[in-house]
């Protein structure tokens, strides 16, 4: 069984993003970049499927600027067998990314596509669902448990107020939620090995996809700052302030 895992290069989740002075976006120059955390969980799930003997090949894909190859190397160091870089300098919107992925799925014919539920930069939470829609294949978003057996995958999903279990015929699309697994750290020997794993480089035009964004960014601004309040010495003072000053209890 072949698994395709799309990964995105984003500002590292430990870094506080800074809005550019001209309000055109968020500063990425000179900022530490990493694999999107939800995509890391997707890679880990694929690697576990391979370790269980369910998956036979894992192909990582990234759509973005040339440096996204670092992210693909990370995925390969974790256990992906090979990778495809679809190089573009255009802002990557979920609709365009889903179209690129659809073209790759038609070429690679994976049985399972595992994506992160959302990228932590644009917070869109859309690409997996859109890919499933374009391919007219079943989807299971926000997965916290994945079981593949007999040409189908049973997925437990995180929904509001609880969990839902659904079963999908393969090929299918899954998006990962936080608690699906805890991704491994790539070992140094595996990082070295990943350097020799194959990476194919293509462009959206090679796949016949127009990347032109549908959303134009008018401005990006800092959110209104919340001011720090006061430190109190006791629970009694706190309760008194909540009752008499803030009047919320």
């Amino acid at each position: 069984m072949k698994v395709l895992v799309p990964v995105k290069r984003v500002i590292d989740y430990n870094i506080k993003p800074r809005v550019k002075a001209d309000g055109s976006g968020v500063e990425t120059a000179g900022v530490k970049m990493s694999i999107n955390p939800f995509d890391e969980i997707a890679v880990e799930e694929a690697v576990r499927l391979k370790e269980k003997g369910v998956a036979t090949e894992i192909v990582a894909v990234s759509i973005g600027e040339a440096k996204a190859q670092d992210t693909l190397r990370t995925a390969m160091a974790m256990g992906a067998d090979r990778s495809i870089l679809v190089e573009t300098d255009v802002v990557t919107e979920p609709l365009a990314v889903a179209k690129v992925l659809k073209a790759l799925v038609e070429k690679e014919k994976p049985d399972l596509i595992i994506l992160g539920k959302q990228a932590i930069d644009d917070d869109m939470n859309a690409t997996g669902q859109m890919l499933a829609g374009l391919l007219d294949r079943p989807q299971a978003t926000f997965a916290s448990k994945v079981d593949v057996a007999d040409g189908a995958v049973t997925v437990t999903r995180e929904i509001d107020g609880g969990l839902q279990t659904i079963k999908l015929a393969l090929p299918a699309i899954i998006t990962t939620d936080l608690r699906l697994n805890e991704p491994r750290y790539a070992s140094l020997p595996n990082i070295m090995k990943a350097r020799k794993k194959p990476m194919e480089k293509i462009t959206p035009a090679d796949l016949g996809v127009d990347m032109t964004p549908r959303l134009s960014v008018i401005s990006v601004a800092e959110p209104p700052e919340r001011k720090a309040g006061i430190k109190l010495d006791s629970a009694s003072e706190l309760v008194s302030r909540l009752r008499n000053e803030a009047k919320v209890i």
Binding site: E93, A126, G133, L163, R226, I249
Partner: protein
């Protein structure tokens, strides 16, 4: 312009977050709403009573298929012809189905909006709320989810919309619904609670986390948690407040043993009053808290309960 709002409902009542989405939709044009599911008839009656709603589209379904993205997205795409915008509250079900419908319509969705500038221009948080982007859509139709805490909920009573019945247009297409397990709770829902009591890594373990129950009982509060507490297994993921969990904006938010990581702050910084208890005086949570106490939460928690018991 006419706008379609896909509603979430439970036990025949329309969720408060969906009523906020109706308020957002009313800024754009006339409002029709869609309810699906086994108890769609009851929910349709409730929806028809919301002031400002013109028409309720009711899709009764007892198969569980309306819990799946595939038929719901097909339904939304079928209905889309009559609408300029399709909206929903940013719930798990909307996030599941709306982007799929958008793909079928060749539209780039606009998730989690916090403000509407005009029919094409919207404000939405990016980078876990570290920045606000104003974006203008070039698509003919807009598919939008709404951050409920940014719009006041429409009233539940006072309207009288017409109800129209429609069938689910498509089968589940390779997906089979198996089961839903909802966690039972006597407490208010996190996203609509007036008071939220949240615990973080400082709660130390699952057993200690339960110490928040009496405080929450006294305040009629929902219980939340930071991602660190969820990752450590103290509580299930549905408790999580933050960018990757629930976004809340209660009257009072009490953070106990929560350091205040960016991703947590993104989920609660719009609360009216924030209280933080943490033993680390440098914890970032104090930068957003109106009232802070530096100290051991296991000492302060019982004191707080005792003070609340005193006649106010």
């Amino acid at each position: 312009m006419t706008v379609l709002v896909y509603l979430d409902h439970e036990g025949g009542a329309i969720r408060q977050a969906s009523r906020s989405a109706i308020t957002a939709a009313a800024k754009l044009g006339d409002v029709d709403v869609l309810v699906t599911g086994a108890d769609a008839a009851g929910a349709a009656k409730a929806a028809a009573a919301i002031p400002g709603v013109k028409k309720v589209i009711q899709v009764a379904d007892s198969t569980g298929n309306s819990e799946l993205a595939e038929p719901v997205a097909a339904l939304l795409a079928d209905l889309a012809g009559g609408y300029t915008h399709i909206l929903a509250a940013s719930s798990a079900s909307a996030k599941n189905a709306l982007p799929r419908a958008a793909a079928l319509l060749d539209v780039q969705p606009i998730p989690d909006i916090v403000a509407i500038n005009d029919a094409d221009t919207f404000v939405r948080p990016i980078y876990a709320g570290s920045a606000l982007a104003t974006v203008k859509s070039a698509d003919a139709k807009k598919i939008i989810t709404v951050r409920a805490s940014s719009f006041d909920p429409a009233p539940a009573e006072g309207g009288s919309a017409v109800i129209e019945e429609v069938a689910l247009p498509a089968g589940p297409g390779g997906s089979t619904f198996i089961s839903t397990e909802l966690s039972k709770s006597e407490r208010p829902e996190l996203e609509s609670a007036r008071v939220v009591v949240s615990g973080g890594r400082g709660m130390q373990n699952e057993e200690n986390f339960k110490l928040l129950n009496p405080l929450a009982d006294k305040l009629g509060a929902a219980i939340g948690a930071s991602r660190a507490a969820v990752d450590a297994g103290f509580v299930p993921n549905e408790y999580q407040v933050g960018q990757t969990g629930k976004i809340v904006a209660p009257e009072l938010y009490i953070a106990l043993g929560i350091s205040g990581a960016i991703q947590h702050l993104a989920g609660m910084k719009d609360s009216k009053v924030i209280v933080a208890v943490n033993k680390d005086p440098e914890a970032p949570i104090f930068q957003v808290a109106d009232y802070g106490i530096v100290g051991d939460l296991f000492t302060i928690l019982p004191q707080l309960e005792a003070e609340l018991d005193k006649a106010g």
